[in-house]
Symmetry: D2
Subunit: 147 residues, 4 copies
C-alpha cells in the first residue's frame, strides 16, 4: 500500500472516528463480515469530507460530481466482534491530479485489526448516466488540504 | 494480482456463474455499490466450492473449519447497473500450504467491468471463538484440484 | 394480512422462484438476518415484474416511474440457514387504483418459514427528487394481469 | 400497531438515538432503501438494551440467550436521504411473558418519516442450533423496566 504523502503544512492528513459493530455486520462465523470493512472505510471517508465542509454528493459549476472507485483493498489481521467499538484512522495518502487515495486502519484499543485502501476518481456525472474524470477542482483541493 | 498457478491436470481451475444485479445492490449514484463486488466474489467462491462437493461451512475430523479472509482487493473499470446479468469468472489462482487465492473477473457480455481477488486461510474454529490456521487437509486439496 | 384478490381470468396471480441463502445473508446467531427476508421479497417482486415484461425501473410517457414502499411486514415461523434453497411464492394480493400489494411465502421444501407483504405505490419521479402518486397506467395494469 | 403499554413507574419506556444515513443505505432511487429501516430499528433496540446494561448477546444460567424475531413491520410516510441525521424514538410497547415488542418512529427534525415495530421472543439456544422460547428471566425484566 502507499505511504502517506498528502500533507497539509507538512503534516499528513488524518482523521479519526469511532464505529460500533452492529449485529447486521456479523456473519455466521460470529465475526464482522469481510465486506463490511469496505463499508466502514467509506463511512470514514465521508465523515472526513464532512469534517472539511465537503460532501461526496456535491455540485461544481452546476454539475454533479461523483467519486467512482478505481480500486479498493483490505488486509485482515484479527477479527472484529459484535459491539466492538472500532477506531477508524483514515489518512489521505495520495492526492493525485484526478484521484484521491485513502488508507484506513482499524483498531480495537491498541490492536490493529485491519488496514485498507480506497482510490477514488473525481468525475462529473453526464446526463446519460456515464461519468467523466476531471482534474480536482482547485477549491476542493484547498478545502481538503487546509491546515 | 497473481497470475493463475492452480492447475488440475495442467488446466487452470476456473468456474463461471451468472449473477443478476438486484435493486438492493445499487446506490444513489445509480450503479452497483463498490462493496457488492466483494459479496459477489464470495458468492462465486462458495458456488465453486459447491461445484466441487465442498462447502465453506464444513467439518474435518470432528472440528469446524473456517475460512477467514487474509486479504481482498478489487479494481473497477466500468460501472454495473440494475438488472445487468453479470458473468463471474473465478479462477483458483493460488493453492498455498494453508491458504487459497481466488481471482474473479466480472463481465457484462464481452465487457470486463472489474477484477478482484480474495485470499482466504484454512482454519479450525477453537471453542473460545478464535481460529487457528492449519494446512489444507489432503482430501480437501484433492477435491479442489480434481480434474 | 390481505387475502389474495388479484386475479387474471379468475386465477390469483402467483409467481415462484428459488433463492439460495448466501453467507452474507447470515448473522452471528447462525441464521438468515431478519432484514434479508424483505430483500428477498423485493427480489421476488422484481423477478415477477420481469416475468411480465416489466421492470421496476421504467418510463411512462417520458417520465420516470418509481415504486416507493408504503408498508412492509413479515412474520417469522422458522429460521433459514446458509445454503438453504428457499422457494419464494409471491402472490399479487391487491391491485389498487394507485398501489400494488404483494404477499410472499418462504418455503424450505414443504416447510413454511415466513410470510411477508409489501405495499408499493405507483409514482412519477419529479425533477426535484420528490415522487407523486399516479393511477396505475392502463397498459401496466394489463401487463400485470394478463393471463 | 400496538399502543404503548410498557411502563416503568407509570412512564412508557422510550429511548432516543441519532443515526446518520450512510451512502451504502441508499439505492438508485436516491433514497434510503426500505429494508434499512429494519436495520435501523434493530440498532435502536440494541442501543436501548445497552442503555439498560444489557446486550442482545447474553448468557443466562450458563446458557446462551437469543432473540429471534417473530414479526416486523414498517409504514413509510416520507423518504430519507443521504446524510440525513435521523432521530429514532424507540418505545418498548409490550412486555409479554416470553416476548418484547418495540415500536420505533423515525424523525428528520419534526417530520415523521416512518414508524415500525419488531416483536422478538426470548429463547435459549440449544446445542443443535435450534432455539427454544423461555419466559423472560426476572432479572432481565427488572433491568428492562427499571425507572
Amino acid at each position: 500500500m502507499k505511504r502517506p504523502v498528502a500533507e497539509s503544512g507538512g503534516v499528513p492528513l488524518t482523521f479519526e472516528m469511532q464505529r460500533r459493530v452492529e449485529f447486521a455486520d456479523t456473519d455466521l462465523a460470529g465475526v464482522v463480515h469481510f465486506t463490511r470493512f469496505f463499508q466502514y472505510m467509506e463511512e470514514a471517508e465521508h465523515a472526513f469530507l464532512r469534517s472539511r465542509g465537503l460532501s461526496v454528493v456535491m455540485r461544481w459549476h452546476g454539475q454533479q460530481l461523483g467519486w467512482p472507485r478505481v480500486a479498493a483493498e483490505c488486509e485482515y489481521f484479527r477479527p472484529a466482534f459484535f459491539e466492538d467499538v472500532l477506531t477508524l484512522r483514515l489518512t489521505l495518502t495520495k492526492v493525485g491530479r484526478k484521484s484521491l487515495t485513502y488508507t484506513t486502519e482499524f483498531y480495537r484499543g491498541e490492536e490493529l485489526l485491519a488496514r485498507g485502501q480506497i482510490t477514488t476518481c473525481c468525475c462529473i456525472m453526464l446526463p446519460d448516466g456515464r461519468m467523466s474524470p476531471i482534474e480536482l477542482p482547485e477549491e476542493l483541493r484547498q478545502r481538503l488540504l487546509a491546515p
